[in-house]
């Protein structure tokens, strides 16, 4: 597959660049755009992004490695990120991890064989008042119960 931003994404990058006095500052935005288009940030993708902004690959890699939300490895179609920090832990965050892990038969950091789900443990997601909760791709699922998890996962497995 050729690594190249779509026309629309190139426009988005230009827009991002216009927000800052230096084009380097658009790197985080560029990595976001790349992650949405390619799913994860391979070395080739990072090199491509570096090329667009005139930033050495090593610098791009350093930034991508620093921030946990940039996927340096492929992830499943649905990235289940369960918060286990203090407020969620008190409300059963670890039970949610165990329940999903058993249900999907994957451990933390693993992806189901069909490539659909990846399960990870997350730090506080700023949703402590609606614990336990998880983030799935860009959205939050809050006040989780077993029933709610079942219905969420069932729906996603069919889509």
């Amino acid at each position: 597959m050729e690594i190249k931003f779509t026309e629309e994404n190139l426009k988005k990058l230009e827009e991002a660049k216009s927000h800052y006095p230096t084009s380097d500052a658009a790197l985080m935005a560029a990595l976001w755009i790349a992650q949405y288009q390619f799913g994860w940030l391979s070395a080739d993708v990072m090199k491509y992004v570096g090329g667009l902004l005139n930033i050495p690959y090593e610098h791009v890699l350093g930034v991508a490695e620093f921030y946990t939300m940039y996927n340096k490895k492929p992830v499943g179609k649905y990235h289940l990120q369960v918060c286990t920090n203090v407020s969620c832990m008190l409300c059963g965050g670890y039970d949610v991890v165990d329940y999903i892990s058993n249900k999907l038969d994957i451990g933390l950091g693993e992806t189901t064989p069909d490539g659909k789900f990846t399960l990870i443990e997350a730090e506080c997601l700023g949703s402590c008042g609606t614990a336990p909760m998880m983030q799935i791709n860009d959205y939050y699922e809050e006040n989780l119960s077993k029933d709610k998890i079942d219905s969420i996962l069932d729906k996603l497995s069919k889509s």
Partner: protein, 434 residues
Amino acid sequence: MPDFQPIILKNIPDFHNIEVYMKNGGYEAFKKTLKMKPEEIIEEVKRSGLRGRGGACFPTGMKWSFMPQKSEKPKYLCANGDESEPASFKDREIFEKNPHQFIEGTLIACVAMGIKTAYVYIRGEYYPWIVMLQKAIDDAYAKGFIGKNILGSDFSTEVYIHRGAGAYICGEETALLNSIEGKRGMPRFKPPFPANYGLWGCPTTINNIETLANIPPIIENGGEWFSKIGEPKHCGSLLYGLSGHINKPGIYELPSGTLLTDLIYKYGGGVKDNKAIKMIIPGGSSMPPLTADEIDGLQMDNEHLKSVNSYIGTGGIVVMNEDTDVVKIIKRITKFYYHESCGQCTPCREGCGWMLRILDRIDKGQGRPEDIELLRDVACNIEGNTICAFGDAAAWPVKWAIKKFLPDFEKKVNESVSLPIANRVHSLRVTHQE
């Protein structure tokens, strides 16, 4: 205070909508400041006594006055919406329920300091709230409140959102600057302070989202009005966040100095299953925890919390019932700091891992009695010895939990355990568990 009216989370349907906001007097304070002298605006904010809501409680008016009025270089404002301190979830409520009051506050700050570009830094996970705020910003542009020659004046300013990508440390103000510049979010050594040398070496002010949302009502009603709300030394309302073992968790806007017992029992509906309280975190995971004996009559503001050796932080209150295992909680919190340390300072980078290993073995019944003192010692050696306040944030929960909940640690250590030498001698790094 039965007649308290919320200042930020007002009970008006669809208040997030710009039309509704404007119908209720929205953007009038901003229009007023366009005709004021910058010094007058800053004076009004000083008179209000407003202190920053990002955790450090620094007086906002004073911070603004540190910005040079005349500058050859551009000046910047950064609104801090990183909100990653565990147990904090208040700024998100502002993005959702009252984004325009925050935007208006941002614009007033720009007028007061002569700033032409403002960045709103929002944690990457808050995607839905980024979308909400962007919509509000777009609406404010369309009404002519943001952009060039605002409302026919000679004042112009732009407001951009910068999306983070998952790093707690980027909430620290100088790490935030590096992150906006497109770098790794490593805190910078201070001095120089951001007011002189911030974004791209230019004068920069960093304020929390809630801090800025308080500005329009201060301009509208006067600083003096604000200074009379809540506790005089830490005035205004606070967005308290209740979570953990509580019947009605959520964000409650109340005057500063509200009784902790009122927050828990009157507003929060009491402890789940009617249990007794074991421990309370008063303002986000970094703040020294409180024992059940300390909560009676305790007012929730920074001054009163100092009397029990803690601080208000972000106002995120975690309630833990009598069955809570203190060591497990502190271990989980320490795991967070271990994971989030940026790694620049040795005491923080090594100390967090070391604390975690000790806590882990104590938790598993494999700790020796000396481990408690060792743990305290490691915490005390991080505190105050690092580039940024993250080190203190990581050390405090451990240090104060040992002080206040010593029997809980003692119960878990074991006289008969013989540790390998490597675990007893300091400075030997054991391969970390994860």
